[in-house]
């Protein structure tokens, strides 16, 4: 039954979603909304599983002495948070008490197996960040209004989280440069074609092309250019014809693949995602 029940649920939900796309009448339209709501509820509850797993693995990496010290500090911080939290049940004290109990149980559970590992510092940072954000949000940011501008939670979010996130995103520029360098080396005929196409696309997308365009005719529109000329026209041609054709071919393949995979899952032919052969 462990496999059959998920398979039945998958089949029923999958068929309802397909049917409601073609039959707008009740009950199918309501059923698909209900199933979507169920997914959101399960997802929201499951977030605890992930968060607790992260804390558990982090505690595991600290080693016994550091685990004791960390636990003591976290418990004191949580008590301060619980005392300082607003009286609202769900917005303040209750989640903190719940987390405190879960944390203590996990710390006790991990104590015997906890062994100091090379990345203990990252584990400690994770626990500290988690507890600080939790207390700042639930106890010292006005309960349900914790996301409002000017709260402690908002301050940490804007001053710590956002810059870190932006830094990661900004690193993408350097990764693009190194990947492009490798990809655009003309090692064979295909790579050489890629290099030539990339040259036109990149050159056609920068302000320099605007300047050069005034000096060259637009071979693609058959007229002397006023906005970009040959380079810009070549870039547009590469993007609108070979690139768009290739992208569409990939998209058609993806759509067929999704239909085929969905059918396999709904019919229970594909079951390895629920632990079956």
């Amino acid at each position: 039954m462990k496999r059959e029940i998920p398979l039945i649920i998958t089949g029923v939900v999958g068929i309802v979603f397909i049917v409601q796309f073609f039959i707008p009448h009740e009950p199918f339209s309501s059923l698909s909304d209900i199933f979507s709501d169920w997914f959101s509820i399960i997802e929201a509850c499951a977030i605890w599983l992930g968060a607790l797993n992260l804390i558990k693995l982090s505690l595991d990496k600290l080693g016994k002495p550091m685990l004791l010290v960390t636990s003591a500090i976290v418990v004191v911080a949580l008590i301060v948070g619980i005392v300082g939290a607003p009286d609202e049940f769900l917005a303040g004290r209750f989640p903190l008490i719940l987390f405190a109990v879960a944390f203590l149980l996990m710390a006790l559970g991990q104590y015997s197996r906890s062994k100091m590992k090379p990345d203990w510092f990252f584990a400690l940072t994770t626990i500290a960040s988690f507890v600080i954000m939790l207390i700042a949000g639930l106890a010292f940011s006005g309960g349900r209004t914790f996301q409002e501008p000017g709260t402690h939670y908002d301050y940490l979010y804007r001053s710590v989280y956002t810059p870190l996130s932006s830094t990661m995103f900004a690193m993408l520029a350097f990764f693009v440069a190194s990947a492009s360098y490798r990809a655009f080396r003309a090692r064979n005929r295909e790579a050489a074609m890629l290099l030539v196409a990339a040259f036109f696309v990149m050159a056609g997308r920068v302000p320099l092309a605007e300047f050069l365009g005034t000096l060259t005719p637009d071979a693609f529109s058959g007229a002397w250019a006023t906005t970009g000329g040959f380079l810009s026209g070549a870039a547009d041609w590469v993007m609108n014809f070979p690139n768009a054709a290739g992208q569409r071919a990939i998209m058609i393949g993806i759509a067929l693949g999704i239909v085929s995979t969905s059918l396999r899952i709904i019919l229970g032919i594909e079951r390895s995602h629920i632990g079956g052969e």
Partner: protein
């Protein structure tokens, strides 16, 4: 102040292809909008159960709009609509209420639910043809017929990649994308994880699966556990080999990159839905010399994976991977069924090119899905 002339031709009708509870109202714009007095400020739609009223306001639209979908009606009841046109406020008398004029009431309209979405019949036909061909080839495969499936280099290399990690005594990382279990790419990724985990269990290689979603963690654990059982190595299974990091996109990328750099895995799989983090992950994996196999159906990320990984499963190959690796006839049959769909699309594409070449465009709407 003179009120603008009221709009004419108020037409109310049941909203098509819906579950009921909606009426679409259309009207001609006031003769004084953009011409005449040119003083239309807004339109207000009012609804009543009798042509003589009383009427309640159901919506206000800016000048220029001539249609409103009233989604707050009961099925089977006649409703009458009037459109009120409101003049622009006078700059000389800003505190004076602008004058209004009211149209004649519409004919009665009643909403109802439809059993078939007529705008999607073409899509239904395509799904039926595709599903039938897939089911046909599955039944043929079950009957023992040999089906030719072309070789996919990225999947042929899975065995070698797992073997390499075993020989080097280093980890295999499997990244199932950053979407949840309601994304079909994640499901495809998790099914491939099952095959990879079985190989890892057989070769006694170490597997590490950091995930960005709790539900993916739960599903992936079940998959990996079953793979280790199937491989006859339940003792080697540790549930912490599948662990949660964070839901945050760049937090996850940072966490995984850190693990790559510190643990230097021999093999990395990226199978699922990826966004901007794809290149951050793949370039870091490349820099530590790991053999990398990626698969995604996100067209924008494919060039990044092609540039940074040793093998890339492009679009449909990701969805074919589980069937391909399993070598089960039923699953391979479904791949063959897809080819029939491709054949039809190719025919339509060639037909469309020919028609467009000869300037025939008026059948293209047959292929629109509303």
């Amino acid at each position: 102040m003179t009120p603008p002339a009221p709009p004419a031709n108020i037409l109310a009708d049941d909203a098509p292809n819906d579950a009921g509870g909606a009426i679409i109202v259309r009207w001609d714009k006031s003769p004084d909008e953009g011409a005449g007095l040119d003083n239309v400020g807004a339109y207000q739609l009012l609804r009543g159960r009798s042509p003589n009223g009383p009427f309640d306001t159901v919506g206000t639209m800016t000048a220029g709009m001539t249609e409103f979908n009233d989604g707050d009606v009961e099925d089977g009841i006649d409703y009458y609509y009037v459109v009120e046109v409101i003049a622009l406020p006078s700059p000389d008398h800003p505190n004076v209420e602008p004058p209004v004029s009211i149209s004649r009431p519409s004919q009665p309209a009643r909403s109802s639910a439809q059993w078939i979405h007529m705008g999607r019949l073409n899509s239904l036909l395509a799904v039926v043809i595709l599903a039938s061909s897939i089911l046909y080839f599955i039944s043929k495969a079950k009957g023992g017929e040999k089906l030719f499936i072309r070789k996919i280099a990225g999947l042929e290399a899975v065995d070698e990649a797992v073997g390499r990690a075993t020989e080097m005594g280093r980890k295999i990382f499997f990244i199932p994308g950053i979407q949840d279990m309601n994304n079909v790419q994640t499901i495809a990724g998790v099914t491939i994880l099952g095959r990879v985990a079985k190989m890892a269990a057989t070769y006694d290689a170490k597997l590490d699966v950091p995930v960005p979603r709790s539900l993916v963690m739960v599903a992936a654990r079940e998959t990996v556990k079953q793979a280790y059982l199937d491989a006859g190595r339940p003792d080697a299974y540790d549930e912490d080999m599948v662990h949660y990091l964070t839901d945050d996109q760049f937090g996850y990328a940072a966490g995984v990159d850190g693990m790559f750099v510190r643990q230097k895995p021999a093999t990395i799989f990226y199978m699922g839905a990826f966004f901007a983090e794809s290149l951050i992950l793949a370039e870091t994996g490349n820099s530590i010399g790991a053999i990398q196999i990626a698969g995604t159906a996100m067209p924008a990320q494919l060039p990044f994976f092609v540039a940074a990984c040793d093998y890339t499963l492009i679009g449909e190959e990701l969805f074919a991977a589980s069937a391909y690796l399993s070598r089960e006839p039923k699953q391979l049959g479904s791949l063959k069924g897809q080819d029939v769909g491709k054949f039809f699309i190719l025919l339509f594409a060639i037909g469309g090119i020919l028609l467009a070449t000869f300037g025939v465009y008026n059948i293209s709407h047959w292929f629109l899905v509303r």
